[in-house]
Symmetry: C2
Subunit: 324 residues, 2 copies
């Protein structure tokens, strides 16, 4: 069957089935990162692929930003397991027409964030390629039991960190070369996303987060992963969605992009309702926004977004499939 | 400066300088694998990139063989450090025209070797791409101090496992679609290389190997890495080179391909001359060929290959640079 027909998630499912867990593998393919035992140490491993014209466009991004974001995206996966990042391998396919300064500038971007997040670049490979691409693998540690996607229960509250939709909106403005006030903020949110490492680690250590994922493909699609793995449905209150002032300015508060737009790299997690006060205290400690946006319901009820009058909003086709 | 001018090794050197060692990094970029500390466990990490038309050609290889070889190549890097492989991430760029069966066949090849070598596939990423490519990262453990490239001393003996040149010769025959007797053996050596895991682990554990590398780019080029890192030169005896019967048949014993041909995935190591008897005993225990092919000399003498009369052989341009 043609790859286009199977689709990205179909292919991942086939690969998952083709890769049975071996010794030491607590969680393999299918969560944000793999959870591995290595003689008493718990390792987390995540891998990402970024290809020119599919995942990024050098017309809208600098090599520096691309390097920074490559690491940020992988940090975010480790954050979503509650882990601490440690070692990065980077393999690059580089067109012959590039200048070596371009590659050095890319590494400067990686290094700026690596230094700040305690990550060492420890290996990789390079080759000539027709199109520029980046393949990263990040190894981290989980001092506590990692938080998976499957721990949500019916009745759990759903929370997100930060604000939603800024990145997708920032990309739109970037393409329009917008210089309106507020555009710069949104564009920076797109180019230099903040992986929520401290929040992820604290949510895991405190035991408050029961299921957790990072938002790379858009809230609705990533929430879908938690729902599927946990066997629950979800109700999201449109009004509760955390939107930045800049986002409100450009969209008049329309939540469409916040619901479906990708690359926020915020954390979505579930917590028991009795933990609300504890989540509040943790929020104060972290100094970032953590917003309750809905709750988990019966699996049969699927995912609903309720408007301010409590009516379900019609949902557009969700997410993005590279192969379709 | 254009990448083509800097060249592959120039680029790796720039990346190496741009990636200073962080905490826990004992050896970063530049050896066969990274050597990392993770709370008392020693980790090894290696990464490889394989791109269609550069590293492989689907006219000459099946998806199954490609999967097998992808893992074999990475196992070989872990073997060259004396380690034991454990966890693999695989990221694939897949053209839309592929069938999902192609990808499944690729994974069958990976799995066949993974099962045999105690490796679990724990993650990765997939995306559509113009050309098929594979990016792998393999994590292993080193129970003992890993063997680096820099431990050779003037006067050390040089050894290789197995036989040399079979793979490069096998590729030539594959392209000619040769069906002559012996061609099948050489082609299998090209498609299904044997990573020398047991030999690498035993050489490390016994302390016999002082410097070690796996032969991926051809004997002379990889020997060059040991010489450079150890600060020695080398003399290789042409007559001592271990050649298979099939190789002799097709080349009349000409060692050119054995000296320069890549993808042997045998181990090259140095050992002190007083350890010769111990190496002999280890050879018997391993049940594979281990051949003394020369010795380390003064750095200033460079690398020489001596013919049967002890005269230096003129050496052709060595190895392959993707960017040139």
């Amino acid at each position: 069957m043609k790859i286009g027909k199977v689709g990205e998630f179909g292919l991942i499912e086939k690969i998952r089935q083709a890769a049975p867990y071996g010794r030491g593998v607590r969680v393999g393919i299918g969560d944000d990162a793999a959870w591995l035992d290595s003689r008493g140490t718990t390792l987390l491993v995540t891998a990402d692929l970024l290809i020119e014209k599919i995942h990024f466009d050098l017309r809208w991004t600098s090599f520096y930003a691309l390097g920074y974001k490559t690491l940020a995206v992988n940090l975010s996966d480790i954050a979503a397991m509650g882990g601490t990042p440690a070692y990065l391998t980077l393999s690059l396919g580089v067109p012959r027409s590039f200048r070596s300064e371009d590659v050095e500038e890319f590494y400067r971007g990686v290094r700026a964030l690596a230094a700040r997040s305690g990550v060492s670049i420890v290996g990789g490979d390079t080759s000539r390629a027709e199109r520029f691409f980046i393949s990263a693998a990040l190894i981290g540690r989980a001092p506590h039991r990692p938080i998976l996607r499957n721990g949500a229960r019916r009745g759990d509250d759903l929370y997100v960190t930060g604000t939603l939709g800024d990145s997708a909106l920032g990309l739109k403005l970037l393409k329009k070369r917008s210089r309106q006030s507020g555009a710069g903020y949104l564009i920076r949110r797109h180019n230099f996303p903040t992986a929520r490492l401290a929040a992820g680690a604290l949510l895991a250590r405190s035991g408050l987060a029961k299921a957790m994922i990072d938002l790379s493909d858009g809230l609705l699609q990533d929430l879908g992963h938690i729902c599927k793995e946990s066997g629950v449905g979800a109700e999201i209150c449109e009004e509760a969605l955390p939107l930045s002032n800049a986002y409100r300015k450009f969209t008049a508060g329309d939540p469409t992009i916040a619901l479906g737009g990708g690359e926020d790299y915020e954390l979505l997690f579930s917590a028991r309702p009795r933990a609300r006060e504890k989540v509040e205290r943790l929020k104060a400690r972290l100094g970032i926004r953590v917003t309750r946006i809905g709750r988990c319901v019966r699996a049969g009820d699927g995912i609903k977004v309720l408007d301010r009058r409590g009516r379900p909003r019609p949902l557009a086709r969700r997410g993005y499939d590279h192969f379709n």
